[in-house]
Amino acid sequence: MKLTSNDKEVLAGFVLMLFGVYFIWTSAMIKGEEEFFESAGIFPLIVSGIFTLLSAIHMCVSLFKGGHPTVDKISISIRLMLKNEGFREVMLAIGIVALYIFVGATFVSIYLAGAILIFGILRGFVRRIRLVVSLAVTCGLVAAMYLVFTVMFKMPII
């Protein structure tokens, strides 16, 4: 059996609670020479405490509603998710964007890599579009962005 929505909520509450505990610990570590009530760590400590408390409430409410995540349920859900076409499409989208940002925009150029990205997406995701049209659309769009940001507004973007 895969994870139900209540199971997911329990897991989400648990993960958030861990984050909350970590934030409490980090906030308590913020050192200052001033009084406690004046210190830089007091507000983060209070907010982290509230965050942890709310996460715990969220987890408990989901548990009371019947949430009971088990290792079996989690592994089945992961396997089903990996087979899901929608999930693969989202992962593909994230991969494409990551490639553009971490490789293209970082090492090549925002515009040039952008042109490759737009052309690739037009060819890969849009059905029934001719090669010449995709090329023309890509060049037109990138040229328009270059004109607006770099020429008109003089932003040092390359």
């Binding site: 050192k31 996460s55 409410v61 989202v90 553009y100 925002i110 037009l122 507004f153």
Partner: protein
Amino acid sequence: MDSLIQIFSQLLSPYGLLIISSGVAVGIFGGALPGISSTMTVALVATLTYSMDPLWAIMFLAATQVGSTYGGSISAVVLNIPGTPASAPTAIEGYQLAKKGEAEKALSINVVSSFAGNTVGVILLLLVMPVMLRLAMLFGPWEMFWFAMFGLMICAKLSRAHFLKGLLAACFGLLLSLVGVDPIWGVPRFTYGSTYLMDGIGLVPAMVGLFGMSEVFSSLKDCKYGQINLKGASLFQFAAWAKFKWMSLRASVLGFIIGVVPGVGANIACWIGYDHALSFSREKEKFGHGTIEGLVGSESANNACVPGAYAPLLVLGVPGDSVTAVVLGILTIHGVQVGPNFLRNNPEFLYELAGALFMSGVLFLLIGTIIGRGIVKVLTAPLPAIMAVVIVLCVIGAYSVNLQILDVYVMFFFGILGLIMRELKFPTAPLILGIVLGGELADGNFRRALMAGKGSFEPFLTRPISSVMVALLLIILFMEFIWPLIQTYWRKRKEADPTR
């Protein structure tokens, strides 16, 4: 009078007209494109304002916001996809009207109702500002802190998700806002030795990531729309709206009030307006099957909300909605610290902004009726193609704030975070509001208040305005957490013993 003439001559100058009309046009276009919300449109065009004067920058952004709030209704009618979340009720009624062959009527009702809502909103903004300004002068750090908390609480409550999830998102936003050097003592918090994090998490990269990139991730696949084609009828039909002018006025007032409440915004105002139209309608059964009243209520309210959202921003520096949160971020980049003192010293700022908002309304009335058909044609572009452009714009938008590639990485991280939050049905608006309100307004005022009270928490509860705010917050918490439990208890008791 002289200054009024000066303001209008400035707004009607070629540069003023260019700024406002281009803001409106970009806004309509962005708002009309499915998946591109008002916040995203404003966050993307914010890049263009860095080289502008702060006043022109805010006018350009306000014009974009007005344009996009209206623009969202176009795709709602023609494609049954709300261009912005604030057009969701418009899609319910408008698309049904369009299917009946009345697409032009629906579009014209939208444009006139939006104009009416915007105009009423601007008038109310000018009327309430002096009162709000006087009230704001009574606010000390205690009240400012509670006001920030109140904004977060309302945003969490009305974000159309589970209240607890809204609160969690708001708290997470607050924690993220605390990253960086503490503004009072200069102590680094949550920076982990990184010099980049010393300046805190950039608001623009966070917004562009949460609202823009996360949308891209979930929409980058070919979609088929049930598009409606327009016939030759006029896109300006005043008479159809005039039948519901009083209802439009009431919905506009409601929309404005929603706008003034911090952190709520047009996404909620549209439903309040729609609900108001439904409550007062004599033909309730027609709702959901294409009714003009529903359109008038929703569009009047969401457009009146826009000027309303600027009231708390200008008076207290607290954004009325997520779009004005972006505007606040841009003003901060320009070195403008809005608040009561700023407005007292620069009263022309309010009048210029109100003038720009009004002119934006006039311009979208013209643009909407003249080039409405052209915009509908553009909507036939495949969604992946639109999203490809959005990806590049997101990267440019995040990069151009500080010309740092690390900002782009932060934007990407927030895109993933937004996607996860969407999957788990956590609202993103409270998170952004938490980031906006956390640093200076919540943390800064909280500690200033503690120092002023020599470590005492008592003034937080005993000062008159503070105590009212605390009472309101407690009522909200009671209604959300305790009241449902009491109701369940009584229901169970009644079920167990029906004679009671």
